[in-house]
Symmetry: C2
Subunit: 663 residues, 2 copies
């Protein structure tokens, strides 16, 4: 496991491992999406919207983006393929990926998941074919994360057999809604269902918002969210409803029905539980966003690593050429741990997509416990991958200096477009809290409500076993951990079992002490219920982060275990060492505070990380080439092979290019 | 020093402390720059360039932006005022600030500093009046940080008494040059001076590049750097010269002269030393950029903190309204340490500006040792402030959720515009290396050359005293440190002397061990000279970072010492505690590894930080109001007081806004 990596490896062998079970979807995109689908630098909002809107309808749907829909309506009942497709699209153009995500994931996905056959029969084919473009109108100006508290109302009137959809005040308008400002003809609108004078919580309706000419329908006010940091091709807008009449059968009524006389019925009695069941069907959005963030991170790293091999800076004694940036330890420190982490998330995301595909596959009822676990995993990996993207793309842009600030070198677009990922499809901090809550309650609480903490702190029993359920490579991991001798100091820090044990120990200890503090708070802060939770919020978020780290490392280990090729396996094993030690190094203080290792060993970890950087330096290019991003998709001027340009620049840059100096 | 902060403080009293000696410059800007000078959201590049270009010439120069120029030519010989003016401009519009910085700082500053009276008489008045717009053409496509290795040549021909300015190949073209793509009529061009067949290193010439109609002059090729991540109003371009004839007297010849017959002379014999003396005059650019980064950070924090008071999310048991974001510990953890750090850098920057003003004041010769120290301080604080800006503005944008992604809320522009600050006017990593080199050599090396490390590792003697020279409050700091009893564990972590001692200890130890490792490497890696330095590059960068932290804390302590008002003093003292403990907490692992405190004390630090957050929560608004950014300058829709909007939203947001639920 700690054998040194040997000579050059063909990146194609890495690619085969990374591409995984939906390799043919990835290849279809690589083959068929040409330069026409790439972003155009320097466009204004109108130009970008017009272009991306056109491309959305030109997109070859058969490549997989709509494959999650039932086969009966033109999909493939293949959830995994749809996620992988959106990861690929994210490497082509993030505006197009988000716009597609709104159309087929959120809008179409909501009609499929929350509607019933009459909705499916009437709309799904046109939605899949992009003949009806739509919006997913959930978020309001006043409520984003706490969507159970939406203020839009939809009140049933048995006289007319219609609902009255209404925006009571400005804070209740739908905001940031993709496809709203320009293209959407219909919207899935979330609102409080009221019938017979009683509220039944948030439900969804399928509501036409524009006529065939594109004008807003009576009672619908459409605004434009205006210029944004990025995603210029996505027409985010605002929707308000002034007593809009919605026919009864436009309620997407899989989880809640209103009879003609106004009688409400539902298979799920509890409003909150019903709502979170409805939200649960939307977990794919989070999985897509996490995957898209990592896909964009791979593009950025490919650009920065390749530039770091070309770009030279400062001479060194005795050398006749300047030193490539990638040879500097400080540059390796910027790029290689980020690259190793990107590999780790790749395997974690692949495992998540496989689990999603299994849990939400069409041919069996959803296992509720597994669904909860899946939601937690999706939330955690979405937060981890999107924050990693924001940090890493920023690092890549800085690693390319002034060139990294020019649009023609792609990085500014990657940064700006992915930036919103940390706060949409669930704010990352709120998502980490959701993960923590699942761990504290062993997923046995009343669903994922985030307001207050309910019984969270008081039900935490037998959490330990729950937490340690592993989805992959369980026995291997247990064996590796068991093989670690009692006295840790004798084990190399590159021992996989020791690394796994450190990750597991930290998570367990953080969880146990969080539970203890919550219980203590509950006893002593009875008059300050908010403080019980708020005083430990940082601790609770640390539990979630440690959990995601552990899940990620285990997925990486499982991925290596599945790899047959011994040289690829050896390389991945070193990358995994770097990932594990990067995480441990970043949280060294915790391990020292809790006597998990000595100060001497702590210093040794930094030395080993530096050794790994030196060892992996020659593999940097191979590691990014393994991502197999088509050359054209990189769309980056500093990497472009103008006739002999790099060669000319390199030749001229040699030190002997200086004018002769006579003695 | 550790007394608790009391009730509300009038922000005006904070503002008086922060505004400092150039308060009247700050007030003049606040009073006179109205909405016309603010950025326009959603512009394309052409629109932004046209507008900012017009505003540049409309800018009331008398407010201070050109005050560094000698009084004889229309300036005020007031260097400090010019820096403060550019800090203020950074809160109005960063494109305008950068464009002004190019015109009056880099271009005009180079003519003033590197030219002689014939250049001053001929050009300075028109430059100050923005009648001649100009560029600072140093960076080349192939050489940014290592500007001593520029490839452009300028060869003297005694026959014609002209220089031949030439771009030998594509990598030698001038790149990223502000004012080049659209507006510049002249450029200060840096190139290798060659005369009588001999190179004399990099010098600068004042070269016309466009005619009166704006067309490129013969032999000059002007390109456009194209769309960028931000700074849309700045016309960055590329310049190439095809054997352009430059009259002899256009050499800016303060530090190197060429006689009619081609004889070269200079008051500084060594090429490298001469070049770094020339560069040293340009230290103001770095001081301006660091200050501008902090100014933008203050704008971002003001927006995020105020939004965090307005925006409510999730209910808490027993409360009838949702909880403001700023009440959450996780939100405080995001914003308050960043705010405390911004205060710390404010005082460090103020001290730096005062030192710059004193060292570069017109009426005395520049003290070379102090100039070196100043350059090091400027480099370090530029790196620290610009990285802090990048991180903090990102955090603020995320803290505002989806709203933070909309251009109308200012944060996207602040992020995109400041992003390049980490890599221009010196790449931050390279600048930290410069700081480290100064510390290792006690500023006695041959100037700030960064290629190789010269004798850096071998001259480090008596460095300790050198390092501990303090520019302010020296005796107070010594007294505070001396008062710390021998056994640290008995001292509160809020004891200022203990905090100062921790900062100082870390810097000393890092420096001493870096020297030891460099010496060891020199002995054992004779055949691998690059590795001697590269193997410790991360350690050396840590020395620089620790040094900047110490300098910053000491400046904060000195600033508090100068504060007369006891309540303001008490508040600043708590903010300083938060800054110091934030730095210590972030580097806890180092202190534990080096037995500077126990694991128990390490945990206590986190608890004290959380206590400080709770204590400072009610002062968040006061702390940002102390920055005294005019309301109009914030230019942010979510803070705008539409008639009663916030009140209406707040009222409607109350929980009792829900439709009644009959029993």
């Amino acid at each position: 496991m700690s054998s040194h990596t040997s000579g050059p490896i063909d990146p194609i062998r890495l690619r085969e491992v990374l591409d995984g079970p939906w390799a043919e979807v990835r290849d279809a995109y690589r083959d068929q999406l040409d330069a026409r689908f790439l972003p155009v630098y320097g466009e204004n909002d109108d130009q970008a919207r017009e272009r991306v809107s056109r491309l959305l309808t030109d997109l070859p749907v058969e490549l997989g983006i709509a494959s999650a829909f039932p086969s009966a309506y033109g999909g493939r009942s293949d959830v995994g393929a749809s996620i992988v497709a959106s990861e690929m699209l994210a490497q082509v153009d993030l505006s197009l990926m988000v716009k597609a995500g709104v159309q087929w994931g959120l809008f179409g996905g909501a009609v499929a998941a929350l509607g019933t056959p009459r909705h499916h029969d009437a709309y799904l084919r046109d939605i899949i074919a992009a003949k009806i473009l739509g919006c997913f109108a959930m978020t309001e100006t006043g409520h984003g994360s706490d969507v159970q508290q939406l203020r839009t109302t939809c009140t049933y009137d048995p006289q007319t057999q219609t609902f009255d959809l209404h925006t009571p005040h400005e804070a209740a308008r739908k905001d940031y809604i993709g496809n709203a400002a320009r293209d959407g003809r219909m919207a899935v609108v979330f609102a409080q269902l009221i019938t017979q004078g009683r509220r039944h919580g948030v439900h969804a309706w399928l509501v036409p918002i524009r006529d065939a000419q594109g004008n807003p329908l009576p009672g619908v006010t459409i605004g434009d969210a205006g210029p944004k940091a990025g995603l210029l091709g996505v027409d985010n807008g605002r929707l308000s409803f002034d007593h809009v009449q919605v026919p009864r059968d436009m309620l997407l009524d899989r989880y809640g029905q209103v009879a003609a006389d106004g009688t409400y019925s539902s298979p799920i009695a509890n409003d909150s539980r019903r709502f979170f069941t409805m939200l649960g069907t939307l977990v794919r959005g989070r999985v897509s966003v996490g995957g898209a963030a990592s896909a964009a991170t791979k593009s950025a790293l490919t650009i920065a690593v390749r530039y770091g091999d070309i770009r030279r800076q400062f001479t060194t004694p005795g050398a006749d050429r300047e030193v490539p940036l990638n040879d500097y330890l400080a540059h390796q420190r910027k790029l290689l741990p980020a690259l190793a982490t990107t590999y780790a998330y790749h395997f974690a995301q692949a495992e998540l997509v496989a689990a999603l595909d299994e849990v939400q596959g069409d041919d069996h009822p959803v296992d509720e416990h597994r669904q909860r676990e899946l939601e937690s995993r999706a939330a955690g990996l979405k937060a981890a991958q999107t924050w990693h993207a924001t940090r890493t793309i920023q690092t890549c842009r800085e690693a390319c200096g002034g060139a990294g600030y020019l649009a023609e070198n792609r990085l500014p677009g990657l940064k700006a477009d992915t930036d919103v990922f940390t706060t949409f499809e669930g704010d990352n901090t709120v998502l980490l809290q959701l993960v923590a809550k699942g761990l504290l309650t062993g997923y046995r609480d009343e669903f994922g409500s985030l307001d207050g903490w309910g019984r969270a702190s008081f039900v935490a029993e037998q959490v330990r076993e729950m937490m340690l359920e592993r989805t992959a490579a369980r026995s291997l991991i247990q064996r590796l951990i068991s093989a670690v001798p009692g006295r840790d100091e004798e084990v190399a820090v590159t021992d996989r079992g020791w690394q796994l044990k450190m990750f597991e120990d930290r998570e367990k200890h953080l969880l146990e002490t969080a539970i203890r503090r919550l219980r203590g708070g509950a006893a002593t802060k009875k008059d300050r219920p908010f403080d019980i939770f708020n005083d430990v919020q940082d601790h609770v978020l640390a539990v979630a982060a440690a959990h995601i780290d552990r899940v990620t490392l285990e997925a990486f280990v499982a991925g290596i275990e599945r790899t047959a090729d011994p040289t690829v396996r050896a390389l991945l094993s070193r990358v995994c060492d770097l990932y594990a030690l990067t995480v441990i190094e970043a949280d060294k203080a915790w391990f020292l505070e809790h006597a998990r290792f000595t100060p001497a060993r702590s210093k040794a970890i930094t030395a080993v990380v530096n050794d790994l950087l030196k060892e992996l330096r020659p593999q940097m290019r191979t590691l990014v080439d393994g991502f197999a991003i088509p050359e054209a998709w990189l769309h980056c001027a500093i990497l472009r092979e103008e006739p002999g340009r790099q060669e000319t620049m390199a030749a001229h840059d040699a030190a002997d290019d200086r004018p002769p100096v006579p003695a």
